[in-house]
């Protein structure tokens, strides 16, 4: 990567924050094995508890935020982080759309608490898991469950250079074409969310003979219901269509709307009797 920032003057300060999440997106930064040490020369890693005990006081030039807001404390914490961050970039599906834990938005949180914990009264949890943008203004949202490390490096470079990141918002289908992967839906009849899902993973699943399962969330102009009809014609059951739209980006608006449409025709407690895509 090239970062044209004049670090002889002052290196920009980078902070990495965590909310409700699996740590996988911030791990992606540590997974930049070839770029990590050069990066640390270009930016000052000022707050990154997963990697270091040292803390440099804010304000910060760039804050990367992982995870969704799920507790009253987190609602306050994100406000303080926004106040001390020049640019705030969310990394991953949790921070950008609420994550898999947003499945609670469709259920009864009191019941959820009591299923997992013997003493729900010890917990402090909100009834909904919400993206960072529901609470503060966000300068850029990087998609993916998990994010792609090349996209992360591009977003960091752009933030440091003060330009817009070159992150495409077209669909996974375009990446399959770039990669030369034969369409798994057309050629094999494999149900695939590629047409409605934003690119960024490099069209990984189809290259492994598997349909896309939407971990980068909806692309710019997704026709979710048209694809749902196609998925049904490929042999998926209503319940499966509901579930495929209701995973790691379940609370993103297009996917939420589509899954709820199928809920009306197919109550989620009914069983299917045939294996489909997973």
């Amino acid at each position: 990567m090239t970062i044209a920032y004049d670090h002889h003057l002052t290196r920009p300060k980078l902070a990495v924050w965590k909310f409700a999440s699996c740590d996988g997106c911030q791990l992606t930064l540590l997974n930049c094995e070839d770029e990590l040490i050069p990066l640390a020369g270009e930016v000052q890693i000022a707050y990154f508890p997963e990697a270091t005990r040292s803390v440099v006081e804010g304000p910060y030039d760039v804050s990367l935020v992982e995870g969704s807001v799920t507790t009253p404390e987190e609602m306050e914490r994100i406000q303080r982080i926004r106040e001390m961050s020049r640019r705030l970039i969310t990394i991953g599906a949790c921070a950008t759309s609420g994550g898999i834990q947003a499945l609670r938005n469709f259920g009864d949180i009191a019941e959820f608490r009591s299923i997992v914990y013997a003493h729900p009264e010890y917990l402090s949890t909100l009834s909904r898991s919400t993206p960072i943008s529901a609470h503060v203004s966000v300068d850029f949202e990087l998609r993916g469950c998990p994010i792609n490390k090349h996209q992360l490096l591009e977003v960091l470079a752009a933030a440091i250079q003060g330009r817009a990141p070159r992150i495409p918002s077209y669909s996974v289908c375009v990446e399959c074409k770039h990669r030369g992967t034969v369409c798994v839906a057309v050629a094999n009849g494999t149900p695939c969310l590629g047409p409605v899902t934003q690119a960024g993973c490099g069209a990984l699943c189809p290259a492994f003979d598997r349909g896309c399962y939407g971990c980068f969330g909806p692309q710019d102009t997704p026709n979710t219901s048209s694809l749902a009809d196609r998925l049904l014609s490929l042999g998926m059951r209503q319940g499966e269509v509901l579930r495929i739209y209701r995973t790691f980006n379940a609370a993103s608006e297009p996917f939420r709307r589509e899954s709820e449409r199928h809920e009306k025709v197919w109550p989620p407690t009914t069983s299917d009797d045939e294996p489909g895509m997973s």
Binding site: P49, I100, R113, Y117, C145, F208, R210
Partner: protein
């Protein structure tokens, strides 16, 4: 990391534990050199996986539960596959089991290299983190990054990507890597194995506080080989039981100060899972290269000092490369990537050795394969009582240290376990009270 001491130095408090996976804190109160209260506080918010797994299809747990942890997703994928296949009465062919083991070796390599070099070594060498350490010890940090990358490359090849691999399914894989692809990564693994042997020598030279854990150790033990992707349960007290009987022996309790459930073994706590337990219970199963280097550095066939866990992880790192090379050398093309796993009503149990210790899954399915109940027991919630017990012992032994030094050492003691807080929530703020 903040250190907050109340007046008179009665309370020590570390608000955000660093170089651990997830969010936790430590609270210690003591008087007259005796710890009166030690709490590992896990404030990582709960995400309710076991609740929203209800109503999902039997095919979904590998993708969904992977998201519990970005550092050990393969562990979740393997334990969930094992449990669902058990419920459906399917045993996968040996070759699929071997490819699972190969992917899992990639995760052990990535996770152990991350912990040894980036998270744990700075404690021994006196740095806040690996990036600070890199200024004085560039060759050590660069080696760590190379070793870690070899694990990620292996996961990319077999799993599609290292965080939340996409190639795992109930019954096996979507696509098998070819012999040609596997052979291409072999030289990388071979060089890494040599560097891992050097790593054992390096970390064995660190200074270790004296400490002997009296607790029971628990790990898996398969019919053959070192425990990774499967096995039945054994303990240092001589207990042996099937994974199906896990919940009959292991109970989880919800304590007020933690969003992670505390586990007990036959009503007793603490017990320990992870590298020390695996090594102590399965030294005979390590490959000759791994056994030789352990002997060379004087590790012995058992290890009960949690600070020495860094040496055990390095030995396991050697083993993981060695085992990966063995699997690659024996691989033949033409293996079907998966076997069908039709659903049926029933209960299934699965366990595998996450880098941090035994990870147990249990699912109940209805006749159509819809999950009606799910239970996940992660390694860190099993280790949480032993982490607290270690802290209690150490606070007593080291009561003459000043608060800063004591706090640092307590953090080090927590990192001995490579705790995975995101996993356990369902971790830490250090507070020490002196009187």
């Amino acid at each position: 990391m903040s250190h907050k001491l109340t007046d008179g130095g009665q309370v020590m408090h570390v608000g955000t534990l660093s170089r651990v996976e997830g969010e936790g804190a430590m609270h210690i109160e003591y008087s007259g050199g005796r710890a009166t209260k030690v709490e590992l506080r896990i404030y990582e918010p709960p995400r309710f996986y076991e609740a929203f797994l209800r109503g999902r299809a039997w095919t979904e747990p590998p993708d969904i539960t992977a998201r519990i942890c970005g550092i050990c997703p393969v562990a979740y994928q393997m334990s969930s596959c094992g449990a669902i296949e058990d419920a459906c009465g399917v045993t996968v062919p040996e070759a699929i089991g071997l490819m699972r083991r190969l992917l899992y070796c990639g995760e052990w390599i990535e996770s152990h290299a991350l912990h040894i070099f980036l998270l744990h070594a700075p404690d021994f060498l006196g740095y806040d983190g690996a990036i600070e350490m890199a200024a004085d010890h560039p060759t050590v940090v660069e080696r760590g990054l190379r070793l870690k990358k070899a694990g990620n490359d292996l996961m990319d090849l077999v799993g599609g990507r290292s965080v939340h691999p996409i190639n795992v399914r109930i019954g096996g894989f979507y696509k098998m890597p070819s012999v040609a692809e596997l052979r291409r990564i072999r030289p990388v693994l071979e060089r890494a194995r040599d560097e891992a042997i050097e790593t054992v020598r390096l970390v064995a030279g660190f200074d270790f506080p004296e400490m002997e854990q009296p607790y029971e150790y628990l790990s898996l033990r398969p019919a053959a080989g070192y425990p990774i992707e499967s096995g039945s349960v054994v303990t240092t007290a001589g207990k042996a039981f099937a994974v199906q009987d896990f919940t009959a022996h292991i109970q989880e309790q919800h304590v007020e100060w933690s969003n992670a459930l505390h586990a007990t073994l036959d009503g007793e706590s603490p017990y320990v899972v992870g590298p020390l337990a695996r090594y102590t219970l399965n030294f005979d199963r390590l490959s000759p290269i791994a056994q030789d280097i352990a002997r060379e550095v004087g590790l012995g066939t058992t290890c009960r000092n949690p600070f020495r866990s860094i040496i055990v992880r390095a030995v396991e790192l050697v083993y993981a490369y060695d085992e990966a090379i063995r699997i690659i050398d024996g691989w033949r093309d033409g293996v079907a990537p998966a076997v069908p796993v039709p659903p049926r009503a029933g209960e299934g149990f699965g366990a595998s050795e996450a880098p941090r210790g035994v990870l147990f899954h249990r699912y109940v399915l209805d006749p159509a394969g819809i999950i009606t109940d799910a239970q996940i027991v992660p390694p860190t919630s099993q280790n949480q009582p032993s982490i607290e017990a270690d802290l209690r012992t150490m606070v007593q032994t080291w009561s003459d240290l000043d608060d800063h030094a004591l706090s640092h050492r307590c953090e080090h003691a927590i990192r001995n376990y490579d705790p995975c807080i995101s996993c356990a929530t369902h971790f830490l703020d250090l507070t020490v009270k002196r009187s």
